[in-house]
Symmetry: C2
């Protein structure tokens, strides 16, 4: 049985890969993935064969990787963050039903909820929800239902894909929904380009978040009702009593 | 300004640490933490000074680490998984308000939601909620409210701390709440001792999950309404159409 590895490379820097991810990429023959993600690792593994496709060609990319694995090559498909959180692990596992000789193994990585939270402080210390605002494959009604549920039950929330050129006002719409349940002063944070060149982050209120500029490299954090700042870091307390 | 690092070491194996976590532990003078977690890394960094406290002494442990950093030592506090998800990042950031000369830096790691999902397949490929069933510091009513919200809005759910000796029936109670909103056939999975000796995992239905044996080393996954199995792996589809 040939193995195809789907590897979460974390936010982007070499140091943020797990030792297992590094070893998997060292040991494979072919590194496949979306061009932008492959370019993040290419310089560390220059001798590999690379297989890339542009954005939105996810299923084509996965089929290419599976075909390559069928040829007997050891293939690693790279994803930013974790492969199992809005990454390629799901599609590869679904498609591999058509390739009986291939076994897909997921090599976990540090997803943006976790790496972004570390930059801001500890906004996800208590129960949290992870929601993508991309409605390419999910009806907006379901996204809105989940935002309402998370807001009403006082989850901390991490938002992936807060906006894109075509969805410029989605974060604003999400904030307006949250504001039906939460105070305008509810603390939030955003991180741009986590772990990559030009990284930036800021802490703001939910009201201010409505008009923040974000793009597809932004991860958004909405604290719960007790989230606070300590020394300019965002902290959602878990409830420890201090002497 | 002295730095105190709070380091997520991932599920437990050396290979599942990030390169940054390894470097941080290599470069520090003192490794602090709960005895069980320190024992996971001790053999890889035998020449360090170790500072451990038993379970339930979280704030004592954090104060000890902060005092040690005040003496001018470089200290790394280790947590299993990620330090910012039910770990020590929050307490340290809160307590460091009392230590103006100390800056706390969070080194992110692979949390159990992500590492456990990778073992099972890809159950968290779509929007998901992370909920701890520990009511030591959170009223059960709030836990129940969050379970209901996540169940009703069709989130995939990852449950931390599903049970302990004192809370033997909590997972059963959580499943019964989920069953008010979900089919008994809703697919679920559990992973015990992720990445450590004696790891085991299984896939079951929500109905079956009610009577599963779990302990404090178990992570529980409840799929959403479209979660399925492919070649014995649990997959929550994101919605890609396949040719």
């Amino acid at each position: 049985m040939n193995k195809l590895y789907v590897v979460g490379i974390g936010p982007g820097a070499y140091e943020d890969m797990t030792v297992r991810a590094v070893k998997t990429l060292e040991d494979c023959q072919v590194i496949a993935g979306y061009t932008v993600y492959v370019d993040l690792v290419r310089k560390y593994f220059p001798e590999k064969e690379f297989l890339t496709t542009p954005m939105r060609q996810e299923t084509v990319r996965c089929r290419m990787a599976l075909e390559k694995a069928c040829e007997g090559k050891t293939v690693a498909m790279v994803c930013s963050g974790d492969a199992g959180v809005y990454g390629m692990a799901g599609v590869l596992l679904e498609l591999c039903a058509d390739y009986p000789q291939i076994q897909v193994e997921v090599v976990p990585g540090v997803t943006a909820a976790v790496s972004g939270a570390a930059i801001l402080g500890a906004p996800l210390m208590h129960d949290f929800a992870v929601i993508s605002l991309s409605d390419l494959m999910t009806p907006w009604e379901l996204i809105e239902k989940r935002l309402r549920a998370a807001a009403a039950a006082d989850f901390a929330v991490c938002i992936y894909n807060p906006s894109s050129k075509k969805r410029a006002d989605y974060l604003k719409r999400a904030c307006e929904i949250m504001l039906e349940y939460r105070e305008g002063s509810n603390l939030c944070g955003i991180v741009n380009r986590i772990g990559r060149e030009g990284m930036s982050s800021s802490i703001c209120t939910l009201e201010e978040l409505c008009s923040m500029q974000t793009d597809m490299f932004t991860t958004v954090f909405i604290g719960n009702s007790v989230t606070k700042t300590v020394k300019e870091k965002l902290v959602t307390p878990r409830g420890y009593k201090f002497q």
